[in-house]
Symmetry: C2
Subunit: 267 residues, 2 copies
Amino acid sequence: MFYIIGLGLGDCKDITVKGLEIVRKCSRVYLEAYTSILTCGTEALEKFYGRELIVADRDLVEQGADDILAGSGTEDVALLVVGDPFGATTHTDFILRAQEKGIPYQVVHNASIMNAVGCCGLQLYSFGETISIPYWDDTWQPDSFYDKIVANYDRKLHTLCLLDIKVKEPTLESLTKKKREYMPPRFMSVKEAAVQLLQIIDRKQAGIKKDVFCIGLARVGAENQQIVGCSLEKMSEVDLGGPLHSLIIAGPDLHPLEVEYIEQFTI
Amino acid sequence: MFYIIGLGLGDCKDITVKGLEIVRKCSRVYLEAYTSILTCGTEALEKFYGRELIVADRDLVEQGADDILAGSGTEDVALLVVGDPFGATTHTDFILRAQEKGIPYQVVHNASIMNAVGCCGLQLYSFGETISIPYWDDTWQPDSFYDKIVANYDRKLHTLCLLDIKVKEPTLESLTKKKREYMPPRFMSVKEAAVQLLQIIDRKQAGIKKDVFCIGLARVGAENQQIVGCSLEKMSEVDLGGPLHSLIIAGPDLHPLEVEYIEQFTI
């Protein structure tokens, strides 16, 4: 059996009882460590599960799916992913491959940022389409996500912005070499996201304003979780510490219960 | 400390390890049993947790919040909720009350239908606003949610429709009596939801068509989970068995990976 198990968002103990039982009985357990991370680290997970994990980095996940699935028709193999298994298309793709090979599979759900974001007090029913904000560089500065934020805002909906993660990105120089070299991992902060959004507003001069109310979230579900509410302009100066961060652009009209709840986070 | 703990969607073992440890150390543990249900039943939960649970029905949740919170400033009290703690405004309200009373609180996240719905293969990033479909009666047939489905569809987004649950609804006759009598619990099926939607389409003659592609989901996360994809018209004849059900109205253009994944469920 091939298992794909969500680890939730916080630390080792956010795995479900069902998930833990499976992890302990599998012959091989992979930890997907490229679409997201758990801040507690791999060693802490290994210690808590009482077993060895194989870290599946970008290369292994994207090119080594057959290796990961190997043998799971006759023995138990698990792939652990941060959040919920259906948070990234990469994981859906794994299930498709298992099906193609006639391998039975089971999914163990868990919390993901898509629902845990409710912890800021904004109602999940009032969110529109979720968007992703990618890192810009000198030559590539896409901003198509901005129109989606504006479309949500015009419909009085909040927008959850997932922020870019760059893990195991090969350096430009090493692309032509035999031996790949990698850049240090980068995780976009709410501050960086706010700065990019302000630049887009400057360019477009339409859509949302710079004083739009935002909520910055860091390390949701972890003990040192942080939530801050302020204008987008102010958010560009906020430091919420280590990864992972998410940003919400609130809709124009908050429900009284939302206002009451968010007060505790507003600066 | 006041704990509010998500139980996930499937059975007893979908609680997280963190959640289970807290449940076992609390002096009182309430099970919220009115905004949603776990099909495994209260007795199975009590047996698995190795402790007694206090079932918090609608009356207790809506009027007895002070009783539930009582003493949690000095001892540990937990409220267990199906899915994630921030799935219903009722639960957010509990946290606000705890704050007002100066009671420290901790949230333990888990999967909810808002993210677990990804199991049908539609990408979570391509969902618009989530809506709720209420039961109609002879005198009350609201349809404002229909415009939201259409607005999502026009933006090429999927709509997750949460279906009505009626638990501990007093009978009309007993409302004026001293002793309340309750109607048997009702859980809207995808079939019932589809029938109501088809009636709205007949009335409005605009928006989405009767052959729009839909996905019906039943008991997501449980072992006997069922998923079916077909036209709305056909969905009005589909029987997916026991609760809870959810319905998705798919957007007009599916991603190739979505199409490939959904094939296995399509009838």
